[in-house]
Symmetry: C2
Subunit: 454 residues, 2 copies
């Protein structure tokens, strides 16, 4: 049970509204990778309103087609939220989370994965935004200020007690409490290190890559990630030219976005082993724990780590990746598994198994949300930034009222506004709501997009 | 590439229609288990029509709420099927399957799991029904009559080549070809053994259970499965009274429907170990390969096998369950993973790892479909029925034009009609299409159900 205090004014939730919002990013090659060749960055955007006027926003990231399917799933879950008090949710948040994820008929079409879990993420993220606003603090402070028992009380431990129990989780948090204020001060002063994925989308040519390397070097970045996996000669060429631009002291990571089979991944990476790569990301199916374990074993002699997680579907898969030693960098996503509550469980398991978390971001709103989580990890769980960083992609931030901000040292600036940084500007919604936003009407009229595309 | 012959008249596909059909089974306690307390057995029902008049039907099973979400996903995939020729699909069926499952924007909301994969199953199942009708044979014969190369050509081996390659799969099938005609004859003469789940849904009381045991004994059944997991004393009582009714020579299995954590499963089953149980089914999360491995290891000394698979989301998870030795009975489902093509891969991997397949059935149409797959396993893969059987639940069969039939020896009768046995009666659709079928209109009018329930 959460220890609700006078900080928690009890509000009366009236409505949960959800919108399908899509940006036509496929018109550039932004965001393109080996498996997702033409993404239209999109989201299902949730607004939970209260009778008292305070509201929370949450979202889940999508790639265009299918956003309407997730939207329908969110609407199927509205009845769990509407006409409740905030106290009735936050006072037993783990139980609420389980009700939402284990609804006796809906769970059949999951369970806890894919469309229905993305829908849960949007709703849960909106509830955390609302909770932050109720307490008047950004979510990273909300989490940091919770005592260990309160924080652990929001987690549903079903299916993970063989890896971590509530008692063990509380112990981890208690052990990490020393010097917390020092770390908070440091975060506020310096921010949290970011890396850029923006130099090497697959759709970019050599000149674009060189230009972007220089641009991000000049912005203070020291860690760079590029996409690989369509053609090995091309990959060798891309790695070589990025190394020419960034040198050998900066970090370089590569990302295959699930293109390979297990043995293929090992063979392909053999050909990239001389580029001093920090990690190979998503070498194969996001569901393949044992496959990643084999790849990780194969990469060890080259000093290349294995990273995955952005499409890991829930805490049960993450648990196994951690138990098996199948990854070196755990890339939680803020809107794939069931929102903050479930992600906290992954952070605590990662700490127990001594695995570094480097969150996935980019997309729409992922940078905005995940910065909060990783800052809490620094203040309250791992207590270190060593070999940890958060992905940064400079897209769609201008759509948000309180966007993620990168400082001159290429660090995420600690958010100060209450909530989860998830509120879109009204004009963004007016322009890009699908299919009736003003930009979509214009593009359909001009023939830039056809409705048959969706 | 499939070796299309003159058997394969090329048809022109015109439309793919999908319907949401729900039966109000929650009004009884039929189908109730520890996690699914009030299922309304439902399906998304697909009809693929051709200009020539031949059509195929396929379905995916659901539990009521959420059927509309899967329906929307099916409709999002229509464009892959409509206005194509059947040749363009069957000639390179593996490639078609990959296009459907790896669509560059839609895959983000899966991939290959949950709502989108259920949608794929309904479409792929309809295409197999159509193929059977084109060749004029039931699907089990269609599969049996394919030469090994043709059969293997329909499988997308992405992500499983570390466990099985096309070459290995062809070898398995070639090795199993001897005496095939003898097995076909035996199947036609005797059918394939079934077991019943109908004696012990959680909602049933002791008298109901005893009565049902006697009923199914008198129908020739020798294997019985009951639900467990809500209360251990109750479970002990239920096991005891079922054993009193069926004796100790008949087979008894128990099914927990994912209710336990890993260590809890082991501890709970310790209390049921004296009932000579053939298997414990779904002891924990369907995603937990390593957890099932631990449970399987814990059960071995009691001679209890571990069974799972009905909610295993794709071939990558099945691959790991098999590689890890995490199950003793592999329970493929005909409408959870991506239809026949993907299921064939699981059968072939199970053969390689020497694990018995005992398919999940019940629901709506699952018995109808899965009988074909298991009969093909007998003729062409495992070549044996030893310790293998197919679940049977006597519900919703009367809704089908060619329902699964159980003979006096409690065996599935080999289907003789062309196709996949998936065609619903027109009157079933007229009555139970949701929400405008005649029965739903009546129930809404009478207040038996409220639209707010969904």
């Amino acid at each position: 049970m959460a220890h609700l205090t006078e900080r928690d004014v009890c509000l009366n939730i009236t409505t949960l509204e959800a919108k399908d919002i899509r940006w036509p990013t496929s018109l550039g090659a932004h965001g393109s990778d080996a498996m997702h060749t033409d993404p239209d960055y999109s989201c299902v955007y949730v607004t939970i309103s209260t009778a008292e006027g305070t509201y929370g926003n949450g979202l889940t990231f999508t790639l265009g087609r299918g956003t309407d399917i997730v939207l329908l799933a969110v609407r199927a879950m509205k009845r769990f939220v509407e006409n409740r008090t905030t106290d009735s949710i936050y006072r037993n948040f783990a139980q609420f989370w389980r009700e939402l994820t284990s609804e006796s008929q809906l769970r059949w079409i999951g369970p806890e994965k894919g469309v229905t879990h993305l829908a849960v993420a949007a709703i849960i993220n909106a509830l955390w935004d609302l909770w932050g606003k109720i307490r008047g603090v950004p979510v990273w402070r909300l989490l940091t200020d919770m005592d260990p028992e309160e924080l652990v009380s929001v987690i549903d431990f079903r299916y993970i007690t063989d890896a971590i129990t509530p008692e063990k989780a509380i112990n981890i948090l208690k052990t990490s409490q020393h010097d917390r204020q020092t770390r908070i001060n440091e975060l506020v002063a310096k921010g949290y290190p970011a890396y850029t994925t923006q130099v090497g989308w697959l759709g970019y040519n050599d000149d674009q890559i060189r230009t972007l390397c220089r641009k991000y070097l000049s912005k203070g970045f020291t860690a760079f990630k590029i996409k690989v996996g369509q053609n090995v000669e091309n990959d060798i060429n891309r790695c070589r030219l990025v190394r020419e631009e960034i040198g050998w002291e900066n970090k370089l990571m590569v990302d295959a976005n699930q293109i390979w089979d297990v043995n293929e991944a090992i063979a392909w990476m053999e050909q990239l082993k001389d580029f001093k790569l920090l990690w190979i990301e998503e070498p194969t199916s996001p569901d393949d724990v044992l496959g990643h374990k084999k790849i990780a074993d194969g990469m060890r002699k080259h000093g290349i780590g294995v990273a995955t997680g952005e499409m890991c579907c829930n805490r049960v898969l993450f648990k196994q990746f951690l138990q098996a030693g199948a990854l070196d960098f755990c890339q939680i996503d803020s809107a794939r598994i069931g929102g903050v509550n479930e992600i906290l469980a992954v952070y605590l398991m990662a700490k127990k198994f001594n695995i570094k978390i480097c969150p996935h971001a980019g997309g729409v709103g992922l940078c905005e949300m995940v910065q909060h989580l990783q800052m809490w990890d620094y203040t309250s769980v791992s207590g270190t930034m060593t070999d940890r960083m958060v992905e940064f992609v400079d897209q769609q931030h201008e759509q948000f009222i309180h966007p993620a901000v990168i400082n001159a040292a290429a660090c995420y600036v600690a958010p100060t506004q209450p909530g989860y940084s998830t509120e879109l500007k009204p004009e963004a919604i007016a322009m890009f709501e699908y299919p009736n936003g003003s930009e979509w009407k214009r593009m359909f009229a001009e023939g830039t997009f056809s409705k048959e595309d969706y």
